[in-house]
Symmetry: D3
Subunit: 115 residues, 6 copies
Amino acid sequence: MSNAFEEFRARRESGNTRVLDTESLAIKRFFALDKQVYADGALSTREKELLGLVARLVLRCNDCVDYHLERCVEEGVKRAELDEAMSVAMMVGGSIVIPHARHAAKSIEYLLRDA
Amino acid sequence: MSNAFEEFRARRESGNTRVLDTESLAIKRFFALDKQVYADGALSTREKELLGLVARLVLRCNDCVDYHLERCVEEGVKRAELDEAMSVAMMVGGSIVIPHARHAAKSIEYLLRDA
Amino acid sequence: MSNAFEEFRARRESGNTRVLDTESLAIKRFFALDKQVYADGALSTREKELLGLVARLVLRCNDCVDYHLERCVEEGVKRAELDEAMSVAMMVGGSIVIPHARHAAKSIEYLLRDA
Amino acid sequence: MSNAFEEFRARRESGNTRVLDTESLAIKRFFALDKQVYADGALSTREKELLGLVARLVLRCNDCVDYHLERCVEEGVKRAELDEAMSVAMMVGGSIVIPHARHAAKSIEYLLRDA
Amino acid sequence: MSNAFEEFRARRESGNTRVLDTESLAIKRFFALDKQVYADGALSTREKELLGLVARLVLRCNDCVDYHLERCVEEGVKRAELDEAMSVAMMVGGSIVIPHARHAAKSIEYLLRDA
Amino acid sequence: MSNAFEEFRARRESGNTRVLDTESLAIKRFFALDKQVYADGALSTREKELLGLVARLVLRCNDCVDYHLERCVEEGVKRAELDEAMSVAMMVGGSIVIPHARHAAKSIEYLLRDA
């Protein structure tokens, strides 16, 4: 069991509720657009989630990485594919990405524990 | 009660003490200059703290965000103003800023709990 | 005369035309939202343009800096205010921001040439 | 004709020659590894080049964007797919990515001029 | 005693094991190259570890900072030298580096506790 | 001859003059401190300039890289040492650093043309 991943899920949910409890229409629209971007289109949702994952890895945000890892797994992306996506992120982003790859590897283990 | 915010305060204070316990004059001067920059001038301290907040959000540093949120609240910045500053930061910095907006929303709730 | 600034204006306009000549609804909506964020609200457009300027400076993008400098000047921001905004950006973002401050100073000179 | 793209090609080639004219084995190995990462594997070269493109867009490097755009086009990626990849990069990386999207749109126009 | 530093060591070791438990040859080679880069050469290992430390500080990654602090101390770098390296990182990277300097100061205290 | 390097020198000088033509005491102090940081101390100026160079490379700013390359050469740093510093920057910062390594290699060629 990875308490870290469940803590992320809880933190994300309660945090989003707080952020969206706002008068700012721009924030609400930003969140709405953030969902639409990953919809099936010329590229599939699966492909876009992989793009999102690599973008988050090179920008080095663990919570964002966890979110896209979960979405990738839901879209059927396999462990070997996730590892190769990570290898691209490491190459582009450098060894500074490694701590996030360590975090990701732990999350992947949790997400695929019954696979 | 937000233990997270009080933990930040304690971590910041003990950390600054350690950093400033140094022979390096450059570090001491850097810290001194970091205070002077936010002084009232052509722009008010309140305006500069808002600038500092948005700069920290797009550079994605929770401890820095917490510090400027506290200073903004001390300068009388309102919740709706903080939210709009966050909307600018999200737009400029992208969805990678969202986890920091979630963190900020929790800190704002704590800082304004008696408001 | 700053040819550099006029070149930026031309590059921005022709580039935006190309980017928006797309089937991607997400891109069109992203551009639309990017305008709405700076509308008068709890914070004024003037204040938000200053926030945008500092965000662009610490993220170190000359074209973005030029755009917000122009908008700030349109909103009546004065030279001394722009300089103080730059001092906040330098302090937060470090000496790596200086080349962009040099670029900005040249653009400000051009934008305020008749002031 | 886009002289800008041809200038990038020439700058890249002469620059790589200079960088690789070195005693540093680490630099040579880094360049070699940078090629291997995009080889067909669990993910296809086409998929990895798209990942590389988005990583470069959010890290905001025009020369890198141009390189991966060229590789994507060689791998048969279509304009609509490139646009959707850009929409993901914008959403994750924010409006600070827009100047690089403008640059990319110009390069795409050149690369697909006979398509 | 700094539990934080020991927790980093454990997290790093278990994380690296997970990351390297992969079919991706690129990831394994990336890790191997990451060691070779710091070998004695035209610059000494000690000098390269200091370079690595400052690079990690300006890129703002605490786990990476901890790793290079430990390596620097193993190479005989003194407290006053570490402080001056930090002053360069602060100056280049700005006040956004300060929270990482606070983290580093705590790790240094732990690493040099018997010195 | 590298006109690019001489153009950088001219751009830097005229730009600094403009930036320092300001009422902002904070900007003047920031520039003054930026010089003091590299003074001989526990670490030598030569060592600090190398630290500055690598920090600029991983933060990816060509003008800053050029400045520190010039200073390193003035301090007697050799080509092989510069190359190893670049290898550390590439490893930490990833392939996104390569275009800046290409730029640096050209500047080094110019700076060492009579060596």
